[in-house]
Assembly symmetry: C2
Homo-oligomer: 156 residues x 2
């Protein structure tokens, strides 16, 4: 299983590509796509979508993993994130990937063993589980890696 894991957003967009290694999970790529805050939403959606297309072409994942969509307090943000999410799911399905959706709680349990962990605890465990994880990345990148770790753990 090779998974493209995503923390969707139109401002910062976390991505990670992981697969099962011989002994542990291997991180093939991770990063955070930043879009221009001055640009309009269609332009930002284009940047994000083209980044996803490039990741799929480069890494040929068989699975897209993404958090379930939930309503946060900012409805405008939620609708923007939903649009990004639709693009990711469409491009992955169109490329033949299966789509795995995970709840925030599932991710926390898989990574830290505790469903109410805070952000810091998740990041610490990501760095322990994957020694080649970056040490000073943005939260969105760690979130994407955590989504990938969870997907591989469920698949074992």
């Amino acid at each position: 299983m090779r998974v493209l894991a995503i923390d969707p957003g139109y401002d910062r967009f976390g991505v990670a590509v992981l697969e099962h290694g011989a002994e542990r999970e291997t991180l093939l790529h991770s990063g955070c796509v930043l879009t221009d805050k001055q640009a309009n939403l269609p332009d930002r959606l284009q940047v994000v979508g083209e980044a996803v297309e490039e990741l799929i072409a480069t890494h040929q994942p068989d699975t897209l993993a993404i958090e379930t969509l939930f309503f946060n307090k900012n409805q405008k943000t939620a609708l923007g994130v939903a649009q990004v999410r639709g693009i990711c799911i469409y491009l992955a399905k169109h490329a033949g990937c299966q789509v795995v959706e995970l709840s925030p709680q599932e991710i926390k349990i898989a990574v830290t063993g505790y469903g109410k962990s805070d952000k810091r605890a998740v990041i610490d465990m990501v760095c322990r589980l994957l020694p080649d994880a970056p040490t000073d990345a943005l939260d969105d990148e760690y979130d994407a890696i955590a989504v990938g770790i969870t997907t591989l753990a469920h698949h074992r």
Copy 2:
């Protein structure tokens, strides 16, 4: 100007392609894509996205027109529609189209002259303005045609 006009949804997805003719607007295509109610959302997003890709390839529009996103009472529906909307906007931008967003009120004013028209009044005017419009289509298809008429009217 050739416009791909869309009434986005994951259940019924209205589409229309219009352009300026010699005397009036010409309707090149309209339809309503229905997805399987039993299928999961990623599968339904795939059906809708592939329909949009095919429409763009066939009709080579230079503009995508779509209603602005607003929150209706059903949040789950709103998030589903937002995902469809993201796919449409991305595919259009990626194909080099400009994206035009219109409010429901702008559409009603352009089509009927009155910003609080009901659905029936919009459909009646669509059929009067475009004699080649279908006479017994689903509301979503008429809504898409109305979006296209508005876009061409604004462009004149």
